[in-house]
């Protein structure tokens, strides 16, 4: 049995690893929620890399329909071809194109399927996928063909909690909420991105970062991607570690709202 233990580029806390492995053993989709910037999307990449499997990403947008993931029947193209006497118009299969889910089902070996930001779609979207995710099969009426998964893909679903997901859908998932990493875990994460970062700078950066996050007045709290950008900026500017906590240079990288900057200035004055 494959087991996921994190990867070189992805530091996961033990709870998350446990949830990933539970989902894989029970063959249920893993639903990941968490603050923006806690690495929800990165997780699927890391799993694919660690288990050496192909990753198929299905990016959900507000206009995405469940059907798009299964297959698309290009009627207009067929009509067009038929009017101009194109070849093979009788062959409906030529006009049926598999979506991401269909691609994952027909793959010759087990793949990782990431359904990214499922909450972006319409409220009914998850319900439309219940059967397909449960049975890992779907039927194409046009060609009278049933697509069944050759190997059940490992399904990772991420959500930013913009919409409530329906209960029936939730019942079929393993759920994990990624908490914001604490200082030690964050230090590990930063070290993965900057292997030769000065320890003094790291300590100072973390201290300033968590001090800012703790302020209740800050509305949009900085997240992991922001701390990484910030360190890059600090390194690039060659800032002396001693100045980091005192002056917080390049503040604009961490805080994206004017009110937050003002709040910080007031709080630290």
């Amino acid at each position: 049995m494959d087991e996921f233990r994190g990867s070189q580029n992805y530091v996961a806390d033990p709870e998350l690893l446990r949830a990933v492995n539970i989902a894989m053993v029970l063959q249920k989709p893993l639903l990941i929620k968490g603050e923006p910037g806690t690495g929800k999307t990165m997780l699927a990449e890391a799993i694919a890399q660690a288990l050496n499997k192909k990753l198929i990403i299905w990016n959900i947008k507000s206009t995405t329909k469940a059907q798009d993931g299964l297959y698309v029947y290009d009627v207009v193209q067929r009509l067009y071809d038929s009017q101009f006497g194109g070849q093979g118009v009788d062959d409906i299969a030529k006009y049926v194109k598999l979506g991401k889910l269909g691609e994952a089902f027909t793959a010759d070996e087990q793949v990782i399927l990431l359904i990214d930001e499922i909450d972006k779609a319409d409220l009914e979207f998850p319900n439309d996928l219940l059967w397909e995710l449960d049975r890992m099969e779907f039927h194409i009426p046009e060609t009278k063909e049933t697509i069944t998964a050759k190997h059940r893909p490992v399904v990772i679903i991420t959500s930013n909690a913009e919409k409530e997901l329906p209960d029936a859908f939730l019942r079929r998932c393993v759920f994990h909420y990624i908490e914001f990493p604490d200082k030690e875990l964050m230090a590990d994460i930063v070290r993965v991105h900057f292997p030769d970062l000065d320890e003094k700078l790291l300590t100072q950066v973390l201290e300033a970062f968590y001090k800012i996050r703790q302020l209740p007045q800050i509305k949009k709290k900085p997240s992991t991607s922001e701390i990484i950008d910030w360190i890059r900026a600090l390194q690039h500017g060659g800032v002396d570690p001693k100045r980091v906590v005192k002056e917080v240079p390049y503040l604009g990288v961490l805080l994206k709202k004017n009110e937050d900057m003002d709040a910080l200035r007031r709080a630290w004055r």
């Binding site: 709870e15 446990r18 949830a19 492995n21 539970i22 053993v25 029970l26 249920k28 639903l31 929620k33 009627v75 207009v76 009509l79 038929s82 009017q83 913009e162 919409k163 409530e164 997901l165 209960d167 939730l170 019942r171 079929r172 998932c173 393993v174 759920f175 994990h176 909420y177 908490e179 703790q214 209740p216 509305k219």
Partner: protein, 399 residues
């Protein structure tokens, strides 16, 4: 196997289904709990709980059911609320040298025993003392305290001296009955949708399905079909109380305002402000300047009755401000004579209207609760929380 636990969870409002319970059994069978109690806890949580909003509830059920297995101490919600006071001044005014030395001498066991005793005795909030569980004081428990040694109970760790975090209910903030931020507001507001293909608009949207159907029907001769666009027909009038006792809720109200104005899916949106109660004029800005205002009568006669009206206010004022004739008397002897009359006018004109209240009903003192109760008889009143807003939206859409 511990089937009672399932029923305990369900009794506490967690919607655990049999499917999920069977998954748990299957997982246990496959040894996914890793033969450890912590592993078992996480296994249960990721299979039975599907929202971080329920983690706190789950934690408490888990503690209750498996209480013989020592975990953390249970700290009452009441106590946690007293301690959740980031607003209390953050200074060293309460520093006490003598107490500091005394506290340094205590062992961890002694402090833990004292905490247990205090939790039995204490029955009110304390900030800045040296004996009780509270904030910003010299006592060895509570949070944001100045004692060099102690147990942190709740709150954000600020002085890093507490050597134990008792009952750190990390997910308490996610509970759905908490007041909410803009994003959650927006999600709730999205429910306020009424699609209609019957709006009076020319058919301008290309109708693919019917074009294909009709083209096929006429043997390949192209027949283009158009349809009327589907559109949200909901129009919203937002009336917000501003100033006075509402200053306390300004952040919450501004979050609601932002969410309403950001959700661009309403057909039309108008926002007006009032102070305490709606009288003869409604103001365009929260500063309530009369040169920047319209008459309430103008709003009533210009916005048709199918507008959905959301009033936001604490509904707490002196009774004469609602019922007395000093405010709100219209020139017309048959017209409204007081604030309440105006509210009733609005209610009669707009069948779908609700009142959102950021404050809960004052449970002592008849003075403030009187107007609260009176207004609640005029408008359906909902608390300004995620659940309250959702309920309110449902009410607005009901026909």
């Amino acid at each position: 196997m511990f089937g009672d636990f399932l029923y305990l969870l369900r009794r506490n409002g967690l919607k655990v289904s049999l499917t999920e319970w069977m998954s748990l059994m299957e997982a246990m069978d496959k040894g996914l709990h890793g033969s450890s109690f912590t592993g078992f806890y996480y296994l249960c949580r990721c299979l039975l709980v599907k929202s971080e909003a329920d983690f706190d509830r789950f934690d408490r059920c888990f503690l209750e059911y498996f209480k013989d297995v020592p975990l953390e101490q249970e700290v009452s919600q009441e106590l946690m609320d007293w301690l959740n006071r980031p607003d209390v001044l953050n200074d060293y005014a309460n520093w006490d040298e003598e107490q500091a030395l005394k506290n340094m001498g205590l062992s961890e066991e002694e402090i833990e025993r004292m905490l247990k005793e205090r939790m039995q005795e204490q029955n009110e909030e304390h900030n800045g003392g040296s004996y009780w569980v509270g904030t910003h004081g010299m006592s060895t428990f509570g949070n944001s305290g100045l004692s060099p040694k102690g147990i942190r109970v709740g709150g954000e760790s600020r002085y890093h001296r507490a050597f134990r975090v008792a009952g750190e209910r990390k997910f308490r903030d996610f509970r759905r009955d908490n007041t909410l931020d803009t994003r959650q507001f927006q999600v709730a507001l999205r429910r306020l949708r009424q699609y209609s293909g019957l709006v009076d608009l020319p058919p301008t949207e290309f109708d693919v399905d019917n074009t294909i159907q009709d083209t096929a029907d006429s043997g390949g001769m192209l027949k283009v079909r158009y349809k009327r666009p589907r559109e949200n027909t909901v129009k919203v009038l937002l009336l917000m109380d501003s100033g006075g006792s509402m200053d306390y809720y300004s952040q919450l109200c501004s979050a609601l305002f932002q969410a309403v104005s950001k959700s661009g899916h309403f057909k039309d949106l108008k926002v007006f402000y009032f102070h305490n109660c709606v009288y003869t004029r409604l103001y365009n800005t929260p500063h309530l300047m009369s040169r920047d205002s319209v008459t309430t009568q103008w709003v009533l006669s210009n916005l048709p009755g199918d507008w959905k009206v959301i009033l936001v206010g604490d509904a707490q004022m002196a009774p004469y401000e609602l019922l007395g004739g000093y405010y709100g008397r219209s020139g017309d002897p048959d017209g409204p004579q007081c604030g309440l009359d105006w509210l009733q006018r609005i209610r009669e004109r707009y069948k779908s209207s609700i009142w959102l209240n950021p404050s809960s009903r004052p449970d002592w003192g008849q003075y403030w609760s009187q107007t609260y109760d009176t207004i609640a008889t005029v408008f359906p009143m909902f608390p300004l929380t995620v659940e309250g807003l959702e309920e309110g939206m449902k009410k607005l859409l009901a026909r």
